[in-house]
Symmetry: D2
Subunit: 401 residues, 4 copies
Amino acid sequence: MDFAPDATTRDYTDRARAFLEGQVLPAEPVLDEQLAATPDDWTVRPVVRELQQKARAQGLWNLFLPGDHGGAGLTNLQYAPVAEITGWSPRLAPAAFNCAAPDTGNMEVLNDFGTPAQKERWLEPLLDARIRSAFCMTEPEVASSDATNIGTLIRRDGDHYVITGRKWWSTGAMNPDAAVFIVMGKTDPDAARHRQQSMILVPRDAAGVRIVRPLSVFGYDDRDHGGHAEVAFDEVRVPVENLIAGEGDGFAIAQARLGPGRIHHCMRALGMGERALALMIERASARHAFGRPLADQGVVREWIAEARIQLEALRLLVLKTAWLMDTVGNRHAMTEIQAIKIAVPRAVQQIVDRAIQLHGGAGVSSDTPLAELYAGVRSLRIADGPDEVHLASLGRAQLRD
Amino acid sequence: MDFAPDATTRDYTDRARAFLEGQVLPAEPVLDEQLAATPDDWTVRPVVRELQQKARAQGLWNLFLPGDHGGAGLTNLQYAPVAEITGWSPRLAPAAFNCAAPDTGNMEVLNDFGTPAQKERWLEPLLDARIRSAFCMTEPEVASSDATNIGTLIRRDGDHYVITGRKWWSTGAMNPDAAVFIVMGKTDPDAARHRQQSMILVPRDAAGVRIVRPLSVFGYDDRDHGGHAEVAFDEVRVPVENLIAGEGDGFAIAQARLGPGRIHHCMRALGMGERALALMIERASARHAFGRPLADQGVVREWIAEARIQLEALRLLVLKTAWLMDTVGNRHAMTEIQAIKIAVPRAVQQIVDRAIQLHGGAGVSSDTPLAELYAGVRSLRIADGPDEVHLASLGRAQLRD
Amino acid sequence: MDFAPDATTRDYTDRARAFLEGQVLPAEPVLDEQLAATPDDWTVRPVVRELQQKARAQGLWNLFLPGDHGGAGLTNLQYAPVAEITGWSPRLAPAAFNCAAPDTGNMEVLNDFGTPAQKERWLEPLLDARIRSAFCMTEPEVASSDATNIGTLIRRDGDHYVITGRKWWSTGAMNPDAAVFIVMGKTDPDAARHRQQSMILVPRDAAGVRIVRPLSVFGYDDRDHGGHAEVAFDEVRVPVENLIAGEGDGFAIAQARLGPGRIHHCMRALGMGERALALMIERASARHAFGRPLADQGVVREWIAEARIQLEALRLLVLKTAWLMDTVGNRHAMTEIQAIKIAVPRAVQQIVDRAIQLHGGAGVSSDTPLAELYAGVRSLRIADGPDEVHLASLGRAQLRD
Amino acid sequence: MDFAPDATTRDYTDRARAFLEGQVLPAEPVLDEQLAATPDDWTVRPVVRELQQKARAQGLWNLFLPGDHGGAGLTNLQYAPVAEITGWSPRLAPAAFNCAAPDTGNMEVLNDFGTPAQKERWLEPLLDARIRSAFCMTEPEVASSDATNIGTLIRRDGDHYVITGRKWWSTGAMNPDAAVFIVMGKTDPDAARHRQQSMILVPRDAAGVRIVRPLSVFGYDDRDHGGHAEVAFDEVRVPVENLIAGEGDGFAIAQARLGPGRIHHCMRALGMGERALALMIERASARHAFGRPLADQGVVREWIAEARIQLEALRLLVLKTAWLMDTVGNRHAMTEIQAIKIAVPRAVQQIVDRAIQLHGGAGVSSDTPLAELYAGVRSLRIADGPDEVHLASLGRAQLRD
């Protein structure tokens, strides 16, 4: 057992941190200005494009993609601390490195399961950030954490599939440059529980695709990364070649996709927690009340200490999970993936909440990144299945062993 | 000791509930439409005006004002359950009954401390809802929970006072109909700790008053009730008659104002919690996953039970506090006022958070009132002094006894 | 609604408090000495006998018994604050006032359901404290919170019932003066779910009754109030006249008994919490570390404030529950009884735990009453059904409404 | 970074686990019998002697001692999982391996700071388990977490030191075989804050040493490992050669001793948590109520899942701390040592508490090890400084950085 990061990790971490501090954090107010200047524009803002060019030039690009399929070839363990650093500025840094959800997950799906033609048409431009994508899984009418609930139908009709259904929380789909949607639906509602579902590529401009409306998260439209859309699919026809892998493979692909997706979310969430802690420390020192800095009063030191402890312990659990994924495979890291999916957002939510409390009015407003970080991390406790589903599942697994 | 409400309370409660259900809740989507249709308009929406007319016609008007000074003459104990009912729809119901902060507090200040001329000019139109008002106390640069930190200066210059300073979180001040601001500042920075401050009436249209910008709470602009403004006062001159009570009375007036203000917030927060619980119960029954309603799974029943217990216990504490204010006066209810100020928002925050969790994506979006309720109740833990200041103060009081 | 206690309540409260401070608290070290001097003696210690004489002489006797059946005729609402005061010294004060469980519950059962002969033989000497009693309900092999699990059989055989089964947590039964046991068993395992059970009076000296062993609670034998016994009933024959009410009435009697039993536990638990808070306050002022009293450090004031808030809110909920029992009957106070059964021990456990923490080594040892108070209040979360059963039940009731 | 344990670790872990399961757990009821048979005997029970012989024969002996000074030469990282295994049976396993506190810490002090003569006289028999020892640091009258509070004086008088003071919580000192006490006192109350204290070896049989009384933890006397004593030192004279290191070195030695001591406590606490979790899982499956196993009800699966997550995350933090101690030294692992000292007992306390709750009456009694585990882990939050002192210190360190 050895807790020292290797040279590659140290190298990427150092460069990512330098980029964050030198390029990304100073660009945050620029993003705010650009968003304010163009209220109805859901495309990627110019400042992001500029950061992407700089990051790509420095080799900080597509680092999420493991193996030698076009990325930097980092293992999950090596990528983890880089992803954490991007969590400090979740509106800018992941996009700058072309490592933002849902594109990362979609690229992985195409990389792992796509045909050469699918890769050429969709994966290449995604790796180049020429287009964006969306993942259409969650549905408004049902508890989507139970995949058998899915109501969208993918019906075979000669050389085409015909897709009908309603999706929401399709992150990024408000962006007109999101050129392709990966849609989960049922090809065979009578098949075995986890063989009913398939995934299919649907071009944005296919007839019958309709963006119904944007959804907000605690008042935020998340326009910086293409928002979240409700999308209607009304008899949408796509060629059979658009199916990913085979009929009935949808659930398995979703599981394969969610593993890395969840760990990436957790890595970034740790970075969000670190930023909140840094702001807490700064505020506690700088702000005075009743003649003393806040740092000398009441529970403030306890909050800071508890945040530090939580982040240290959970970071190790995330790293161990990454190591398991690298060494024994995602499948055998299921318990750990569930564990961090539950524990990290919950802990970071509390850290951000306390940071807000310490900042008073500035904490809930847009004068600090805290309220928006809160909305983001709070959503993670719901996205990809609520905590409670994972807790019950993990508990069941323990009871079985 | 008797826990049965009296006939007056039952009467007002019944009527308020009928109005809520018959008039207010159906008007919520109308408010959303009217807000969406006029993005830059901070005035009171037409639907609120209509509700106000109906409520006034039914005698559901100015109920917050105790005693026989123009309201319905309810005691705090009698008003409490009515205020709770308005908390079910905090964007509409308090305004409909002309019982919304900060106007209520401002009316109380004018009622208790105003000269006849001040009352005629400002209190009368406020009681009629012809104008709105703002309360300018919190400042961006300092911890305002410590009144000695206040930086705004009110300098006497002949027959005028000259006001210079910067305020924020002036709720309602974005509304151009907010015709008057009650401003807290220092008339004598060298006086005893709690005799340095004074309060003064500043007309919105006085030269030197500048609305700097709106502030958001999480991502909400709270336009429905006039938003929250940062306001600059740059050598603003008002006649000496605009001073409320005497020089040095500002801290005492603030204390007198905050007691009822805090209990009103707590009453409404209980209603917010009740609405979240009602939504939780509805969702738990209606939503199915893994073949069973959510109500039959994991922690859901525990959440519902704990919410019910918390609301019952805290309601009693709020009611006892109201009874103390009625029988021994606000001053002798200080401990209880602090207790509910700490305990109620904290508990309701958790209830709303759990309701959000049970609703998944619908919970964080605008499809339910939950996310906005969350933002509202979360802010209460900061407004009028953060929890921690009150906890330390209440703890100190216990140690003294 | 009126939160002022009536004259009778004030009178009894004043006298009970005076007795606590003047007689009971000074007797605590005497009890310790008497217990240490006679390690294997489970009878009531002499110091308790003396306190009983004094209390009875002052009319502080059998106050728990509502109505005019021999007690002071207090309502539940009037008795509540007296019971709270006895919670300050749970090893002495309840026994001193002849208001200690399980005798109180047993006396209530005999009072409400007993025949004249049963009352004469058992109730009279219990009201006089000439004998003690035990309640034999919980069984070691099954989850007794589910009454259908009960394995003890009560078989009719001519003019006798024959009882066979194993009970534990029979509080007080180690005391040889506990002359009678009320035993719950099944007379008809095939009857409807809640008509299978009956209760029967079993004299301690009946053939086949065997005290198996004492049980400890966190290392304490609770010898001061007769310990907790495991008891075997091996073909124990008692005359049919010993049945309480009729066959199949056992569940209903248990429910009737548990309502008051639970509220009494909660009242006393509040007193335990108040004593822990008083000790916390004293310690925080008296103890110094790093040059300052503990009261000035870290979370101490917050702990004290939160304890005060919790106790105030929960006391009101207990009092309202008592008022409901008095005005609409135990049956219609079920939700409130469950609510306090869940909420009070949980909150007091935390208060005592924090008081222990503040006392360091003295807190876990016998130098303060805290560790033993902890063991007592911790057990309340298990006794009469664990929290979780009540939470689920209360949650279900909310979902039904 | 590599999370796989090395071959040595796997070897010792496997053997320790086999010994635990084959020898230690079956010996637990034997220990109970032997303790019950000899109520006033504080010496090591025969069953422990037998286990020691077997363990020593298998090379499971003195594993705690790092380096090549007589132990197995394990690093802290290698020893950690072995120590965790001993935590499953804290009354037997640590003693069986001669790895029980406070002897481990005392042996480390002698090993690191002792003279050859001191080692020969005290260390050798301790390593052989021929004698036991105690560590006398905490004092009843003062907050000992602040070392400047220490009141015991060590006065030089010619060739002797004369020791006067009062200590308590001297674990193991009730055992007459505890032949030597390491006593912390002040040699120079006027020296710099952390140079006032010295440590000195005091033979149990020195004139003036008096064992005042045993202390209990909750209701346990902890007789299995020599209890906890209050000890009076009344003008006790020992030769100057008994001083450990030099005058004024006491604080530094204490710090050096506490680092490993704390991590050992945390390792064992993890084992205590694992045992509680194992019992929880077993009970949840075996016990039925309302027609279903507890595992299918309410919060049980959530409790199990949360326990698993907590233990995994905290184990990694403990292991990383051990690795830091091995690679950069105890001094540079201070933050991590404090972190685990705070986080592990707190988490394990909750796990044990929930296991108790799931076991009902069996949980608080001696029928499961849970209540005694609870008392043990609860005390860890007080021993070696309460959580709050460490939280404040860790928070301060973060604020400095």
